[in-house]
Assembly symmetry: C2
Homo-oligomer: 132 residues x 2
């Protein structure tokens, strides 16, 4: 069974995409969320580096193809209703295009406001609570 | 600034939704992914338990409102392009409707096939690699 067959079980959305959460396989940090189409999933499985479909550029891209900051696949999971992928990966360098280790570095405060000077790294493990 | 104002900064999609990854605040396990609209986000911030918009039932729901398996918010983050939310939460009981602790218990094998007897718990921390 090839990737093209098996992945028919997954529920892609009306644009043919499925969200993929990428998590550091060692410490559990959520590094980024991107979207895969069938081809991106096939390439991710075949090459063992994470590929996405860029919604803004409307093209397939390998994460890190320009920056070198690739994500090496350690394991792949799907959720109970088959509409979200979880990738456990070993990152090469920072994952975020800003140079941050992960993309989730902006915290929201108790009002739901974004980026009000309480930004913190959403690393794995125990964190101070921003909401108490 | 109330949640209604501040959240205008977030990029909701054409259906008015934004994906939210929920992660165990203590060990980093990715528990589930759901979708919030403005009202679900407001309720999540106001009550400090996770609320979603159900796409299948087309209604607001508090995670655990029936089962009791709620998700207590510890902190909220948004990603670098403001189109994904990360919730660090303290789960009450199992998060998945199947009774599993988390929804990502089905692994994909090297071909990309789903559920071929290699299912494993996608817990936080170090895991054996399913793909090598």
């Amino acid at each position: 069974m090839g990737p093209g067959d098996s992945a028919q079980l997954l529920k892609f959305d009306e644009q043919g995409l499925i969200p993929a959460v990428v998590q550091d396989w060692l410490d559990g940090t959520v590094l980024m969320v991107g979207y895969m189409n069938q081809e991106a999933l096939n390439q991710t499985v075949a090459t063992k580096t994470v590929h996405f479909w860029s919604r803004s550029r409307q093209k397939l891209w390998e994460k890190g193809e320009t920056s070198g900051n690739k994500l090496h696949v350690k394991s792949l999971f799907v959720d109970c209703d088959l509409d979200t992928i979880l990738v456990k990966a070993q990152p090469v360098g920072p994952t975020c295009h800003t140079g941050a280790r992960a993309c989730f570095f902006t915290s929201m405060d108790e009002s739901g406001a974004v980026g009000v000077g309480k930004a913190g790294e959403a690393a794995g493990g125990i964190l101070e609570a921003v909401l108490r």
